[in-house]
Amino acid sequence: MVSRVTDDYAAMVMAGCRAVCEPAFWAGFDRSSAQGFYDYFCQLTDYEPRRAAQFGLPHYSWLCLNPKEAENTALAEEVLAMIPSFLDRPNVLGIGEIGLNKNSRNEIVIFEKHVELAVKHDQMILVHTPHLEDKWKGTRLIVDMLKRNSGVDPARVVIDHVEEHTVDIVLDAGFWAGITLYPQSKCTPSRAIDMVEIYGAQRLWLNCACDWGHSDPLAVPKTAIEMKRRGHSEAAIDRLIYGNPLRFLSQNPKFQILEGQPPA
């Protein structure tokens, strides 16, 4: 969690978090060179896992160039060429969070190249869907592109940040759907539970963001409390909050949490 202070790691462990997954993200500014991405990927695969380990929290990452930086296609090509050299690092789970931001032509080109990279290297995929007014259009474009690629296994793809108007598009196409909990944008705990009740929990995954904007690293445990208030059983809460991400992520043998053991 390169944007967060160590208190957040401590709070997450105290709240029962067993692992953290950190996708490559936009830094809040455009990086000026591929070397900037090299340093960032080293941070995600070397320094940050050691920092999280100080709090007993296993740290995993996903690598890519975020769609917000995809307009610079020359830089994106350099970064894409660099990513394979990081894929065998022990905490790398796949390619992500790739996707679209403003649904532009260059974003689409770079998204499809990331997908090809993932297919070529047999990587799982984490997809970011656009914000607010761009989400519905972007989600449909993303699902169409993924379905057209015969090398993509929907069971190994999670399409993130779904809301009420996009969750069925993702689930109907066979992908996992991520619901991202934010204090203001994306989704609240009560709305997330509504979607779980309507669509079932089979391929839904709740997550919270720990970025440099207004976000809450404890949003998932808070949603577990809200589910309990709504009358969901302890077993159902555990299946959704813990079991589902464990089931999805365990498709990559690098992802391991020792059952019944404190985090190592």
């Binding site: 532009s104 108007h165 009358g231």
Partner: protein, 87 residues
Amino acid sequence: MNRSHITDLYFAEARSKLIDLAAFLDRIERSEGVDDFRMKSFRAALRELGTPGPDKAKKILLGLSDPTEAPVAQAGTKSASGAWAGF
């Protein structure tokens, strides 16, 4: 959960958000100027809110969404405004 349970659980929170929404609209009314595309689509969403039937969240999100299909030529900005500028 039945309607009574849901009301018990969420009424106070929803009431608070309702008053906040009303105060926001009062603030807009007191201010000088005219509605831009965001407020026009916001007022359309409010009408949807008062229409009987299910899926209000989905319908309102769709009403605030870009309904077009073709990719844009270039991303002119990185941020989103919350409503489709073509509304």
